[in-house]
Amino acid sequence: MSHRELDDMLGKRWRKPAFVPNPLLRWGLFAGFVLYMIAAVMTIEVNWARVYEGLDRGAAFIMAFTSPDFVSRAGAIWDGMLESIIMTVAASVVGIAISIPIGLGAARNIAPLPIYLICRGIVAVSRALQEIIVAILLVAIFGFGPLAGFLTLSFATIGFLSKLLAEDIESMDRVQAEAIKASGAKWMQWINYGVQPQVIPRLIGLSMYRIDINFRESAILGLVGAGGIGATLNTAFDRYEYDTAAAILIIIIVIVMALEYLSGIIRAKVQ
């Protein structure tokens, strides 16, 4: 009997239907997940003796933050920081400029299929290759220094920004864009009037976020020889100069927080 009589329903409890209807399967999946977690944790080997020895070094590292040394390597820190900032700004500007056309091409609702596939391909390649791997390759090609870092960050920016821009374009209000099309606008005018106003706040927000990421990444890329503050940081670690390393990390944290604050202000302005 498929028809539900009201009298049968009244007085019965109501529960939201379960996501997995079959209770056997549902509890089976749950139990399997728990067992897997236990098994996975048990495969991690911990050498507790080594941990005990390492605690001292960890403590020295953390204690260094109470006495950061900005002075004795001030020159190196300044140079590295400047290099990182230049790298970040240049890579962000170039990356964002290239991301916009690729983002337009990677949005299925405005690009024809062949262009869409090409642009999605570029995005996929850029996202599949992790920054460090790209940096190692580019350092091998261009040698040590900030050029490799700049190119790495530009490349990574394209993958990040194009994908998110394309997704924002795909979820825009179709009718607003349709209204512009109905007036007889050319393609570029249609983008400028129908699409751009809808996605610009998000594009600006994402760009700010990407500048933030690029700056943090520039500290990592130094570890593989791609220049910037990371190189200085790496040297400080190699020499066990934890107080200098702490100074560098503090500067990075301050700059990232300042960028975060700035992006909050800018995003509020463009809403």
Binding site: V175, A182, G184, Y193
Partner: protein, 264 residues
């Protein structure tokens, strides 16, 4: 002026939205297209300016056949057809003035439009139209700051600044209160009369349609079920268009509302 011949639209899902529609609209006639949701009203007006590509059939605007135009010629043809949308479809983050001027995009080059340096004649016309609909002081407000009725007025200005021969109007009053709905319908019909424009108005509100237009076409399941003057809409006709229901109330309402209007 507009002639539709055997227009068919079959969506990829297999739904036949329009089944060989034939319709002719003379110069200056305002026509209301009524029918239940899903009858193909929206599809039909979108097939005329090809926001939806028709499957087969012909659409003649004057002596230009629209369904086979290339993209450049289609853009030029779209300039002749102003469109007014349900839910206004203004670009919300642009100013009122930018929204109105966007109706001129088919006439100005990219850089002019990009830099918002429109010819003075376009700017003057935009001001004139905004004044006509009573929104002159709103010109520099952002579109999303306006109320529903105000937005639809901006939508009307955007369509008219194209200097079209034909207005395609898709549910202009669907999200407006009854009074504003009536003001908007009156405004559209007055402007059509002033400029000698033909118009197709998709509308749910049968009583409102009866009040303002010269001709009503009823669509059901993608076919024309009724074509005649508004006073020929009897309960029987409404039953053939919409299905069984007590229609006396709807038609009585017309008289009621006319009574209210006289009292106003």
């Amino acid at each position: 002026m507009l002639k539709i011949k055997k227009l068919v639209k079959t969506y990829r899902t297999g739904d036949q939205a329009l089944k060989a529609i034939d319709l002719e609209i003379p110069e200056g006639q305002v026509l209301a297209l009524i029918g239940p949701s899903g009858a193909g009203k929206s599809t039909m007006i979108r097939c005329i300016n090809r926001l939806v590509e028709p499957t087969s059939g012909e659409v003649w605007l004057g002596d230009l056949e629209l369904t086979r135009l290339g993209s450049g010629a289609l853009r030029r043809a779209r300039r002749e057809m102003g469109m007014i949308f349900q839910e206004y479809a203004l670009v919300e983050r642009l100013t009122v003035m930018e929204n109105v001027l966007s109706g001129r995009l088919g006439y100005v080059g990219f850089w002019r439009s990009f830099l918002r340096r429109y010819p003075q004649s376009d700017v003057d016309e935009a001001f004139r139209l905004l004044d006509r609909v009573g929104l002159l002081e709103m010109a520099d407000k952002r579109a999303d700051e306006l109320s529903g009725g105000q937005r639809q007025r901006v939508g009307i200005c955007r369509a008219l600044i194209q200097n079209p021969k034909l207005l395609l109007v898709d549910e202009p009053t669907a999200s407006l209160d009854p009074k504003t709905s009536r003001q908007i319908m009156r405004l559209i019909c007055e402007l059509c009369a002033e400029r000698g424009l033909a118009a197709i108005i998709n509308i749910h509100d049968v009583a409102l349609a009866q009040m303002f237009v010269q001709r009503v076409v009823g669509l059901r399941f993608g076919a024309i079920e009724f074509d005649g003057p508004p006073n020929a809409l009897t309960p029987n006709v409404l039953t053939t268009i919409y299905g069984e229901e007590d229609w006396e109330a709807t038609i009585e309402k017309v008289e009621d509302e006319e009574g209210i209007e006289a009292a106003e």
